[in-house]
Subunit: 144 residues, 4 copies
């Protein structure tokens, strides 16, 4: 993990997404299962894109492109619990022709629970061939 | 639920599928989450079909047909626990032009944990239009 | 399924819960997987209880009671799709000493997608012994 | 990710775990969802421990210890598909008082699909206090 301890870079455009922890999200250790966070992070990325003018569903169906996850790095610092209200702060940390990396921190109140870096490639949909990230996605990483 | 308490009908052709309960399958009540069983049951249906000569993946990709779930009825009698070895016994209880109903019992050792009736329709893939169940699927419900 | 085609009984106190369909909620048929709906329904029941004054987490941790699912009946009429905004309308259809049955309809706009009846028993937490449903839960089923 | 491209270190004791990809494991891109692999990897770690004499369930219930995931790093190179038979090769790459890191490669036939490094800490169960990794877990990392 390259991001510092939850430090959001200066100038980053951050989307805040809120989720309520469900019963099914937990496991027998009575905390949120480590895999569940990937669902929270994915929803947060879709909302990030929507807020910045990219409807991800139409990205696939109209533009015939998709953004599959090629790398996921998650660091779990404190467990989330059933019925917690979590905030996922997400920003586009890196974007170039080859990839887009979304970084996130997951918070409960002011408390930092989880850090994540999720890297996406761009492919032609539905054939799956790697292609260049569109300029308007790359542009999202640049502070206005 | 129309099936009696786990009673497998005489003459039914039964497929036995085994699963090991994973950590992620459980919830904070330290038992298998009620939704997890649908995954076990789905895998058991795919194995039932494979054993009887129907490769479900090719059913979709070659025959251009699919069998979506239109009704799920599950009765939970005893909880399954992490690391349990479960046996899912599945048979095709009803099959006609309109639907196929797979019944299952889930056992741990000799103990009956769960009963399920899952009803599937047949659609054209990938458009989703309802169509008639193929004869060779209907025929699977008939004892040899 | 005993509920009519999505007809909410007169006088029922209904909670409306909204979810956005995630990418992970779908399967290779490009619709929401039938098991995913159990997660939506579970979240809707927790919100139903919260709106009526029962914090389900404290129900477990303070009252030392839990409400496991003993029967799930779901009828899938139309598929939900990625990024759909769904509304889950939930009411307590039956409640007595032995069980509580929550009925739900899942809608997209005015369109009825799914019907469900989920029956819960009451157990002592965390031992798991069946006990009588508390009076204040039974009382929730009665129109004011 | 510190592991080279799927290269298993010389002398590593490797456990092979096989899974069949389920329908529910896929998403609307018609490939296995990136979150699903965490379930496969978790099952593989439990089998690794069982093969080396550590029953993970009893580790929790008898020894009153647990091994929560504190970091997950996964690199997705090629997608797995519905009904694929996957092999997860897992070894204990690092183990000391503070942590145990399990590395895995996921293969389909001879083809490398996924690389993962999952790091676990040791806590007292069920209170959740960090404690020292037991010597017999650390010893597993050493070639005989």
């Amino acid at each position: 993990m390259r991001i510092a301890e939850g430090l959001i870079p200066e100038g980053a455009i951050v989307t805040s997404h809120r989720v309520r922890v469900g019963y099914v999200d937990t496991d027998r250790a009575q905390v949120v299962h480590h895999g569940t966070y990937l669902r929270y992070l994915e929803a947060a990325r879709v909302e990030y894109l929507r807020e910045r003018g990219v409807d991800y569903k139409r990205f696939e169906t109209d533009r015939m492109l998709a953004l599959p996850v090629v790398e996921a790095n998650v660091r779990y610092k404190l467990p989330a619990l059933f019925d917690d209200e979590l905030e996922i702060k997400t920003w586009l940390a890196v974007a170039n022709r080859a990839k887009a990396r979304f970084d996130s921190v997951i918070l409960r109140g002011g408390e930092l629970l989880t850090l994540a870096e999720i890297t996406l490639a761009c492919i032609r949909w539905p054939e799956g061939k790697i292609c260049s990230m569109p300029d308007y996605v790359i542009a999202l990483a640049k502070p206005a």
